[in-house]
Symmetry: D2
Subunit: 344 residues, 4 copies
């Protein structure tokens, strides 16, 4: 019953097999490996973006931080949700990589910025000439930190506000596949057709050992990104091992299969909790993350049953709150065992 995060899972056999294959013989280093050309072609095809510049890195934090540093100058404001991963969970990586850009926080329920809140924040930031930071860029997370999913229309309504100020728009897709499976739309619809200029296309949380792609739909950013990546020590010499993972991830829609499984387990868990009298969801379960609270005593029963998940701070009224994340390797038995323990 491992629900702490989708990153406590390992990798599916297809990925391990790809690593073993890639290990045969010699290959060129630093991204010039044979498999990378395949990865580029696949991602361009999947995103209907034949010109896109595509790079691999090993962590979601650096995918976001390098994309942000490429899209905004140091004096730019990065508009994001108050609970965005880039604000809460990256130890200031965006500020570090951008040489001090300021994250300006936008409100909205269930982890989603509202267009009005964004418009208002845009209006009051960067309006004092040289004295304040300038409007820099927008960064949206999908799946959000609250486990909810922006629709393409919702994304478009945010990017439209940003583009009224000529701002580039970034999508933190650490759980891109999970969002896509929920939406049933195309990658293009969820990104550039909705105004997104750059994507952190996550693989690690959905079954890779550690690979994320950064996608720029406008290849004008390519060389700058390459230099930033190298300078950050994020260009792998044996890059073929990143390429191999990503190539296998995309082959035969493995990425979608994995996310479908994770989302199904998230739904099963969310519905199971919602059906309990003693428990309630605190955010709608729209992908593979479940946020809930329950009567006092739930933590004790779950933990003695061996459940692992995030024990969040209790509510003022004493109810216990928690975050559970399902992954590609979560089983129905895991979920049912969790529900049995919680029910008591």
């Amino acid at each position: 019953m491992f629900f702490a995060s989708d990153n406590t899972s390992g990798a599916p056999p297809e990925i391990m097999a790809a690593l073993l294959n890639a290990n045969e013989g010699y290959d060129r280093s630093y991204g010039n490996d044979r498999l990378m050309a395949d990865v580029t072609a696949r991602i361009r095809h999947i995103f209907e973006a034949p010109e896109a510049a595509i790079y691999l890195v090993a962590t979601g934090t650096v995918a976001n931080a390098l994309a942000i540093a490429t899209l905004t100058p140091p004096w730019g404001a990065v508009f994001c949700h108050r609970h965005a991963h880039i604000e809460m969970d990256e130890c200031g990586a965006p500020e570090f990589y951008s040489a001090g850009a300021k994250l300006v926080l936008v409100d909205g329920p269930h982890g989603k910025m509202t267009p009005d809140a964004l418009a208002q924040t845009l209006a009051t930031t960067g309006a004092s000439g040289v004295h304040g930071v300038q409007r820099g860029m927008l960064s949206i997370t999908n799946v959000t930190e609250a486990g909810t999913v922006y629709t393409p229309a919702e994304i478009a309504s945010l990017t439209k506000r940003a583009k009224a100020h000529n701002l580039p728009c970034h999508l933190d897709g650490a759980r891109f596949a999970n969002a896509l499976v929920t939406l049933g739309c195309t990658p293009a619809e969820m990104t550039w057709k909705s105004g997104i200029d750059a994507v952190s296309f996550g693989g690690t949380k959905n079954g890779l050992l550690g690979v994320e792609a950064v996608i720029f739909f406008d290849p004008a950013h390519a060389w700058e990104f390459e230099l930033r990546r190298k300078r950050a020590g994020h260009l792998f010499s044996k890059h073929r091992f990143l390429s191999a993972q990503m190539a296998a991830y995309l082959e035969n829609d493995l990425w979608l299969t994995l996310a479908t499984r994770a989302n199904a387990m998230g739904q099963r868990l969310g519905q199971g909790i919602a059906a309990l009298n003693s428990a309630a969801l605190t955010h709608p379960t729209q992908a593979n993350m479940v946020f809930a609270n329950w009567e006092r005593g739930g933590h004790a029963r779950l933990q003695s049953a061996g459940a692992i998940y995030y024990d969040l701070r209790p509510q003022p009224d004493g109810r216990e709150t928690a975050r559970m994340v399902a992954s590609w390797s979560t089983t129905e038995a895991d979920v049912d065992q969790f529900l049995t323990a919680l029910r008591g």
Copy 2:
């Protein structure tokens, strides 16, 4: 005949087996995995350093850059050889990570700083009070960029100069194992017993997919390093895959076996070239790297035979120059085939 770099090789079967093993089941993320405790214990034992703080990252560039940023303030001078990897091949990563420290270059033949050159540079840097950068730290590379190896006594004679100014001393050990095998000394003798405070302990060039350890003999640097690593996006969520590689690398002296093989092939190649009338070594071959020049025509013959290596800029007299690197997977046949082609 792949002699471009030791990073064009893959990984030996022991490493791949360790990855497969580590993939079983769930594990805690972000460095809290079960294998990391084992790695820490092993490295402390090997280095006879029971207090050392030890961290894993995925590239040599970031191992160096994070170590440097931890050891020197932004206004510090980093003394290193004119041809050091940190100066030549990291696209300014030390400057980036340290927020602008200045690399001050020290001369010396065959990739090795001389104590006199270091002493002179130390004397003239940081002597003008607040107006110039301050003396910050020393960084030594072993194996050097010229394929030579500093002895512990040579290291000590450099660190002694630095410590006269209270400077911390870093060792870039991207090819640590190759140097150690050449020297036949202990890791402690090559490092802290010779005045080294922090080590980039390379694994990638010697058979890992992408893992380097950073070792601080003084654990006071530990928490700062952890924050810098996270902030740089270099803390892996599925960290167990780094731990697994490093654990297997150290088990049964695999790391030394691999380096012994690479060095032997380097020696075979170096001696073979030196024995040719038409060719000469430009640096002594002391580990797995061979630098040579030869009469015009060598490149053409080698390349038509399929040899891959670095074609350096020709000498003024027209002789061709080259760099060849042997790895753990280089075979005697590879070397002999190279020599045959070169001989013509």
Copy 3:
């Protein structure tokens, strides 16, 4: 009728005379001038801080940013009021100088953080280990951006919360003298006796051409600050001209005389506005800054009468809002003329 800011005023004759005096003959450069020793002694005496390290710079922005960079590492959170100058009006200078520290915003009415709001923000920042930024420091502004004044007891109740986490505390005293005159306390009471570790001691808004002192009560920060100042290009070669201004500012309590005048004019203006039926103060007038709103039409009358001040965004109900700042050179006639025009 110049009420746009206290920095639209010039300097009083004592300051200009001091500049002329300082211009005689030669003097040592870069802070080694004769007058600087005098400045240091005076400030130590005034602050009852015989060990304090004291430096001069030319702008308030850099006084704050250098103090912050000296007190917090790049991964530190700087706790400050949502409307603090360092957040709103310095174009990200704190982020630039600190290499990316994050300003974490604290709420509270009339420009003043409440201890509860600070305690809550402290509790939720830096509580996730390596994943989030760490608690770094506190920065308080006095006079606040809303023209209100923290009492020593209020300052102490904030610094107490910060010091429970071992955080250093900075006071942005761009209008230090104005606050002090309001409070009638000693500089020591307003600073180190209330838990403040470093002060931006402003002079420019209160009559200097451009000089602020940075004061560290713990001189351990001295050398780092000197290096940061030089590296930032803020060490003046002809430093004597800064020293001369500050020395004259402190002589015969000129600084307090100037602030008393400015505050009296602020009070006169605030009281005059409060007495109008058509107008109201939006923040209490506690020093030399007045925030007010009034019925539509006030702006037009004032501007046609030649009044210069900040025309802020109108209230939802259409009332006009404004900020007026009195300076040492504001006259009673200026104030009365303003009130006459506003009254209509």
Copy 4:
């Protein structure tokens, strides 16, 4: 006998008078003062550059560092002479402001890069793709750190090499006026007609209290520069006091008059030393700086006579070496007294 530096002098009466004038009444802050328009017009006229963007800052270090940060990305190499002020005397300000650009040092006698040395350094830097820093920009100093003066033809022959790689070219003109007086050419000839894109146009060493102009011949850099200046805390609120100095400096060719005087005194001193049997010039005296060595005993005589200058490290043969700088306020008596003391 103050020959330590031209920045140990004060300001001529015209400058002090201008400050007093500028102090009358109120003026707009942050560079929007009335005098700044005048300064812009004057400098555009003097440089025959009607489109140039012009900004004032208070120190030469920041003029250089901000110009460099505006012209090169963090991964750019800044080519400069080995003894350039930006390398030796700014405590790493260029690295700080540029977020870690690397200064790459070029050799040449008497403080002047030779075109061949520059060409060779250009050829070997930035030639390894993403692995090394990229070619960024050229920075030339005139008057050089050795007191010599580049002719426009010499400048052009350097900028031509840089422009072959599309690099922008910066001139550090801390002693711009002294160079110009020596050359007898126009400011345009010394700058944009010779391939210079941006100039640090110094005033402080030539008689101002602390003002330098930064000039970009291509105004496309203007807004970025303004943001960088503000973010660095180098935008003065009472900017009129900078404008006033610069306006007076340019009026009636005061700047040229002052430099002419300083150069004449430099020449007198240089010729006087050269005429001594016991002394010799170590660099040609081409402006207001004199470098010399002399027999042992000179220092003792000079210092007991009250002469103040830089006592450099003695030569291997024991001869004493020194740097003397004349300023606008140096008198013939100062020079002759110095020569008398040296002669013994």
